[in-house]
Symmetry: C2
Subunit: 333 residues, 2 copies
């Protein structure tokens, strides 16, 4: 489950990006409300890339760049001369699902250091929420109750990460700095952060689950990972373990999570992603006292970051360099 | 404001601690309820050190070790042959305040890596609470409200640490791993963690306050630091800044904090330490909607850790080594 571990750094591409660049016509494919937020950022940070919605483009053959998020099935059809397609975030499953996605155009995603650290902060907050039971502190304050508690060293708390990509690496680094005992599962076993214990393969997944008092999902959504958070996995975890889910909604079998929480097999869950978003107001997750719901808000690429990374990648193509965060379409991320 | 940055490591002292050791008679000085929790831990982890309360000791001249926490003014008087006095935690101001504290006996405190990381986790949780406004997420969940929000990169968030000791170093390391822009104030300017910006002296304190959207107090309590968190300091901070106070209650002028919160100069405060503990149930802090109260619970040395560090220090004395966490009585920590 590893991703490309490269970053925007001092490469030929970034140097080329700093040189005056030839104009590029780009198209915005996806929900107009979401995509509109990128127009200003590109104007400021990559002014040579002109972005427009499809209906405003007179000559589709002039379009060489597409910025996309959940494009519809025919979105790419009018544009025969694309040189690069970029997601606005780390996820690309919505783009890969478009029937008109051209097979031979490089597809990149946004996965920079800043985004990894934003994810790491979000996840670290939830790890501490479960480990140190901060919810109890807040509840005690509401009833004016002073109660000190025995504490466990972080080194005695086993945290498991599903996913060893850019984000997984940033999360592991933050948790290791706090002394946690960190295990990392990835499909290949590569990209193991220093100081973490590695697991891979089907047996590795079971072993990681069995050791994880706090399990974090940071996997991409692929056919193999769909439904990976299920009753079988929860049963392998230590009794009273907690789940922090920041992958994709489709990783989770929702009924299995509710059953595991209600039986006490799991003590709590932090959920940031859902099969249906926004999470419907009648959904049981909202009011469950062992669940913290956040609105798919763990981390964002900023529009400025998207503009800079797209400009760098386009400049790189001019000098024959692959985008740093090129998607492996076979792997699905 | 630096502390001794040494740790329990592979020194002659720790090797000596692993050898069979001669029996040591120790005495417990302080609140019996607190001190009693160390008897079992020493029996298990340092069985050659026999701990007893003063009234159970037949021959006070046989006592060579004292484990103390807020001992009374005459507590040390009956014991003329002490070789080592240890606190049960990082704080020693209660011991230094005892009139009978012998001037010539080494005094140590407990400040290990595990404790630093426990503090770092606690503080990191609160930094994220303020930076990412997690309180709003929890409130939104209570009203079934899905609301994504613009986010700021951690590198744009300036965090200031007052105190560059063992704990400050662990906190800085955790925050730097998450990408925060970290400034550290210490009296001497020494012990600056890699990647942090250093400040020292009176002017440095003002400069650090002026740059800190989130200010963390990790100072020891000394005559110089008493009341350091006051209206003047709050006024120098950026408007809307937050305070995380994990030092000592006496650092804070409570009325000044309430005024700064009520005027909006500060947006929030996380308070773990108080001038009077437990915090009286009628105190305004409990119910203030911008304050998170925790019960002086940021971190503990575990009794096992105290036993191990005391045994190591005693063994070190036998081979002429100073305790790793020797207190500098002039500095007061």
């Amino acid at each position: 489950m590893q991703t490309m571990a490269s970053d925007v750094s001092e490469t030929a591409a970034s140097q080329a990006a700093n040189a005056p660049a030839a104009p590029v016509q780009g198209v915005l494919l996806g929900d107009p409300e979401i995509m509109a937020t990128y127009v200003d950022a590109f104007a400021k940070h990559a002014p040579h890339i002109r972005l427009a919605f499809p209906e405003a483009i007179e000559d589709p053959a002039s379009v060489t760049f597409a910025l996309a998020w959940d494009p519809d099935d025919t979105a790419f059809t009018p544009f025969p001369n694309l040189r690069l397609i970029s997601s606005i975030a780390a996820g690309v499953n919505g783009i890969l699902a478009s029937a008109s996605l051209p097979a031979d155009v490089p597809l990149m995603r946004i996965a920079g250091t800043a985004q990894g650290q934003m994810m790491a902060g979000f996840v670290t907050w939830h790890v501490l929420w479960h480990h140190r039971r901060f919810g109890d502190y807040l509840a005690n304050q509401r009833r004016t109750h002073w109660e000190r508690r025995p504490k466990r060293d972080a080194r005695d708390v086993r945290v498991g990460l599903l996913g060893a990509g850019k984000m997984g690496g940033a999360v592991a680094q933050a948790l290791l700095a706090l002394g946690y005992d960190v295990g990392v599962y990835s499909r290949s076993g590569r990209n193991l952060p220093d100081g973490a214990e590695g697991f891979h393969g089907e047996e590795g997944l079971s072993q990681l689950a069995a050791r994880s008092e706090i399990l974090i999902t940071l996997l991409p959504l692929t056919p193999e990972t769909r439904g990976i958070l299920n009753a079988d996995l929860f049963a392998r975890m230590p009794s009273g373990a907690a789940l922090i889910h920041v992958g994709r909604g489709e990783h989770l079998i929702e009924a299995d999570l509710l059953a595991a929480l209600d039986s006490g097999q799991l003590s709590g869950a932090s959920l940031d992603v859902f099969a249906v978003e926004p999470l419907p107001s009648t959904h049981a997750f909202w009011t469950h006292d062992k669940i913290v719901v956040t609105p798919h808000d763990a981390c964002d690429s900023t529009p400025a970051q998207v503009a800079q990374e797209a400009a760098t990648a386009l400049a790189g193509l001019d000098v024959g360099e692959r985008p740093a965060s090129l998607v492996d379409r076979d792997a699905g991320y």
